[in-house]
Amino acid sequence: MRLSYLRVGMAMTARELLRSRLVLILLLVIPSLFFTIVALTTTDRLITFRLAAISEKPLIEVSERSESLVFIGTAVAGLLASYLALGLMHKQSEVNRRLVLCGYHPSELIVSKLAVLLGVIVLVGIYVGGLLPIFFRPERFALAVLGLMLAGFVYGSYGLLVGALFRRELEGILFIVLLANIDAGWLQNPVYYAGAQNQFIIRALPAYYPSQLGMIGAFTDRSAIRPLVSSLGYGLVLLLVALAVYFVRMRVRR
């Protein structure tokens, strides 16, 4: 992998992203809009739930609003990351193929995109996490933000995979919105999870470990090693499959 090729690839990918008004609006508006809606529609009443990732299963008692903000924050970070990843993979894919014919290696292109995506995921995590203290004081702020970033990483990898698999953007957006909606936007709410049947299905979904990590960080002082490692593992597996599909799609057929 040639560093100078990576440097140019990253610079051009970042410029493409920054020149998309829709992306900038989504990144800035969606988190604050969603948080505002949650803040306006939830109450300060205390709710009690168990977190599946904590083995001793203590009961956690927090305000409905705090719990909802962390839950929605995870969903927002995941949704934005997967949408961005889909765009990076999908838009200009044939132009990228032309670059490969000209001498770029597919790995140099995908690593350039990945580096930019990871940078945006970190910024989104900091931005979304930075809104939390406006509403409540997280127990361990850094860990809660890390949970948001890992939600972005896992769903970003999913977005890359969907972008590599589907030729048309509409199909990709549907796959992202449908999964993010049912997974990060519904099933991973620990209040719902506590009473759910067949919980193994919920545990197998992409947002499970990042949302557990975010909740542990925001509301407890318990160990978060398992959801942390599992989030990284889950994201890496998705990422590797996405890279494999991308290489097959981009290879020069000589």
Binding site: E94, R97, R98, C102, Y104, V252, R253
Partner: protein
């Protein structure tokens, strides 16, 4: 299986295509395509819509894999696709820099910048250097699409409908440049629906029923 090799042709050939075949499902688009191009030759391929001209070029440049046959080319290859394959949100200069990096020219800024400046001047679009591509007209975008193929002075240019959307002046400029390249020993394979300028070409083929015929 097809065989495609770069850099091992005899010195008198820059492209050697033998018995190439390609099908999409049951539809056999290329049945048995054989032709050769020597250094300093301009060859044209014509044919009706959907006869497989672009498929043939896509196989030659490596966008598609052939089902059978052999492609051998020597030297560097430049490719201008039929569709606009350029980064719309980047400027003309950024597109040129991105592709120059792909060609390995980025270590020698002066070389590719000189080449780019000359090409932009020749095709009368140097004033758009800092303009994002999505603000350019269709014809200017096509000029950039073509210039990206010329940027590294390749030995063989593979051009798919390169002058679609050009005005008359640019069309004439294209053929003047093609003649200059031929004089330098460069070769060009150009595909078009209709070849008006058969006098400019050393060989004209017609793709018909998956087979190349001399036109």
């Amino acid at each position: 299986m097809s065989e495609s090799v770069a850099g091992i042709t005899p010195p008198q050939l820059v492209l050697d295509v033998e018995h190439l075949a390609k099908a999409y499902g049951r539809r056999q688009v290329l049945k048995d395509v054989t032709f050769r191009i020597r250094p300093g030759e301009i060859a044209g391929i014509t044919g009706e819509n959907g006869c497989g001209k672009s498929t043939l070029l896509n196989v030659i440049v490596g966008r598609l894999r052939a089902d059978a046959g052999r492609i051998v080319h020597s030297g560097e290859l430049g490719y201008c696709p039929q569709e606009l394959l350029i980064f719309e949100s980047l400027t003309v200069e950024e597109n040129l820099r991105y592709f120059a990096t792909g060609y390995g020219l980025h270590q020698r800024d002066a070389v590719w910048q000189d080449s780019a400046t000359n090409l932009l001047d020749r095709f009368r679009c140097s004033q758009y250097m800092c303009t994002p591509v999505n603000r350019l007209s269709g014809g200017t975008k096509q000029k950039l699409n073509l210039i990206l193929a010329f940027l590294h002075s390749p030995d063989l240019l593979v051009l798919d409908e390169p002058y679609a959307g050009f005005d008359w002046e640019t069309y004439l400029q294209f053929w003047e440049y093609a003649r200059e390249l031929r004089a330098e020993g460069k070769s060009i394979l150009v595909v078009a629906h209709l070849v008006f300028d058969s006098a400019q070409l050393n060989a004209v083929y017609r793709l018909n029923g998956g087979v190349l015929e001399c036109a």
